[in-house]
């Protein structure tokens, strides 16, 4: 009887060992990525791409889409609870928060391997380099060139604006009542005088940089706020003139509202990316074809600069702790192959720009229908990526407070003070300077 009992126990033990062993062998490795690409078609496109990766490698990529307004708070909570995923999609200013909180690891070896094969342009990869270490890989680019209704410009005998004066003249001429019913049908320019989301601040930033205005200066090795400068004041003087020709509702304008205006053909000129292109091409290809893109107009003696982001992927410390680094490496090496990378970019065709030379020059990317059809717009967006300037990264170094400086939306708030509250430019800029100082001193 005792013998039987022992046999039974041994049998149970063997089964348990075999079972555990098979579970370990059969369990697939899963890596997790957080991103804010929440529109359903973008989630579906990524799902398809990640499924293909899983079929080819056996590694599952679990995506966690988080709404952009909640993204930073989730990351902060993830840092506090040590529950970050393996990979994070990020904008460069927020990279500095990750470094500050020691939440990510340098990726020099992975970067070098991918860079060698597919080549990232310097202007893009350097956004993720801090103190000589590479902390992330650019994964797609978004830029906001000047978008304009070419048909209206042509009708009014205007050339696409190259200078601030050209833009002001166009904004004035193109704010018009086309059907003679006494109401304005087309607005010359869409200037968001708002702090709802970052649209207002990003538009001001584009103009400010073309006039060499800055917020931070790290050239001496020490961070200084240099917002209150003649360049900044000139920029706001110009924007306050431009505000006369903007659409009603500018005080509450966000990216979505501006996109709606583009899709309804109500604005002649707007600083915007290609997010509207895919949908407008489906619904009203004629109107879509009327829009063209060009570089941001510059003031006299100004410089070519542009608002934009090389969005990037970071590897968290958690990936290292959970032993997922090799799987992450396999995934990234796979993702940057031009055919896979193109599929990734096409989750929002017309908006997401390539960040490697190999993808930009690949047939897969260039022969994609919408890219081919609107090649001129794609060329401008790709070209403006070379001139992008990032908040907090402009003054000879990278501010560790770049995330907070950008997230404060103070550039838009200063414009609101001037346009909505009738503050003088001097007073508003002075106020902006002191607010930025408070942010970096905190």
């Amino acid at each position: 009887m005792k013998m039987k009992k022992n046999y039974f126990l041994i049998l149970v033990l063997i089964i348990a060992v075999i079972f555990t062993f098979s579970i370990n062998v059969l369990a697939k490795e899963t890596i997790e990525i957080w991103h804010w690409e929440t529109p359903p078609h973008r989630i579906t496109a990524q799902e398809a791409l990640f499924s293909r990766f899983e079929k080819e490698t056996g590694i599952e990529v679990k995506q966690v889409p988080i709404n952009f307004p909640n993204y930073q708070s989730k990351i902060m909570a993830g840092i506090a609870a040590n529950s970050l995923p393996d990979l994070l999609l990020i904008n460069p200013p927020q990279l500095m928060d990750m470094i500050k909180h020691d939440a990510i690891i340098p990726v020099d070896d992975i970067f070098n391997s991918i860079h060698k094969k597919y080549e990232f342009p310097e202007a893009l990869w350097t956004a993720y380099n801090y103190m000589g270490k590479q902390y992330g890989l650019p994964v797609y680019g978004v830029s906001w060139p000047l978008t304009y209704r070419a048909d209206l410009y042509e009708e009014a005998g205007l050339e696409p604006p190259k200078t601030w004066d050209d833009l002001l003249e166009a904004a004035e001429k193109l704010t018009m009542d086309r059907d003679g019913d006494g109401e304005t049908d087309i607005y010359g320019f869409c200037l968001p005088v708002s702090t709802i989301g970052n649209y207002g601040s990003q538009v001001v930033w584009g103009f400010l940089r073309t006039n060499d205005g800055k917020i931070t200066d790290l050239s001496s090795g020490e961070q200084r706020i240099v917002f209150d400068s003649p360049e900044t004041r000139e920029t706001y003087e110009f924007l306050s003139k431009l505000a006369k020709y903007t659409v009603p509702g500018a005080g509450n304008m966000d990216w979505g509202m501006a996109e709606l205006l583009i899709k309804s053909g109500k604005v002649a000129t707007v600083m915007y990316n290609g997010a509207w292109l895919r949908e407008l091409d489906e619904k009203d290809p004629e109107l879509a074809s009327k829009y063209k893109m060009t570089f941001m107009p510059i003031p006299e003696g100004g410089q070519r600069k542009n608002t934009g982001y090389p969005r990037g992927i970071l590897i968290t410390k958690r990936a290292e702790e959970t032993g997922h680094l090799e799987a992450v490496r396999t995934f990234l090496e796979w993702l940057y192959k031009p055919e896979n990378h193109t599929e990734y970019l096409m989750m929002e065709a017309g908006l997401f720009m390539p960040v490697t030379k190999a993808t930009a020059e690949s047939d897969t990317f260039n022969n994609y229908p919408i890219i081919k059809k609107y090649n001129d717009l794609m060329q401008v967006q790709a070209k403006t990526m070379e001139y992008i300037s990032l908040i907090g990264f402009e003054g000879g170094g990278k501010s560790l407070e770049a995330g907070a400086i950008e997230g404060s939306f103070l550039l838009g708030a200063v414009l609101q003070k001037i346009v909505n509250e009738n503050w003088s430019v001097e007073k508003a800029v002075e106020w902006g300077q002191s607010e930025y100082e408070k942010i970096v001193e905190y």
């Binding site: 902060m76 506090a80 109401e183 509702g249 005080g251 709606l260 939306f409 609101q416 909505n420 509250e421």
Partner: protein, 254 residues
Amino acid sequence: MVEADPPFVGLNNYIKILWTPEFWEEVKLTIIWTGSNLGLIIPIGVLIALLLNQEYKGKSFFRTWTLLPWMFPIVVTTLMWRWMLYPVSGVINHILKQIGMITAPIEFLSDSSIAMFTVVLVNTWRWTPFVAIVILGTLQTIPKDIYEAATVDGAGIFQKFFYITLPHILPSVIINSFILMLWLFNMFPPIWLLTQGGPSRATMTLAISIYKKGFQIFRMSEVATLSIILLIILSITTWLYFKFVGGKWGRLND
């Protein structure tokens, strides 16, 4: 939350915040927001409940229609309002123009002088059904024979309301107002989705300010201090309520 080894600063954060005009402006806006919402939601809710308590044709349609704002997620309804209120492409300005009430579009959410009023109206639309349904529940517990006896005694519609209906629903109205006041004081989604505290801080209540300071410029210690201040304000209000209102009118101390 995000600092590994924060220095001890005593009451410095409290002193700093209480000396900032910005903070008192936010307190003022929070009180305006809470007060105006309560001032609209409660009377309109009671009125709707009274209407729903009557017998008439189409009552079930009216009841469903009234509950509609409460059936959809707040994000959906608020964003729908935001689109409808757009000055250029929004349907509300379009209708107002068509019927000749306006010539230039009204900037409901981008004009700082009317933004708070607009946000309050949208929120009133959302919350009124909640109050209406709770009050309706109380109305249906009033025995019908009391009204019949009052009719026999020759009481009119207003006498019936003030001497029968109101005393019966008052405790429910008071407790509803109290719960709603606590929610409104901390309320975040409608203001965030419509204006994010703008334009020019015209709708910057304490709840919005806390979120912006915490998750846009990462001032966690300031946010923690503000949250404690908010808790103290609400605790004092609750104590005052139970002391002076709840017991006397709301029968909460029975």
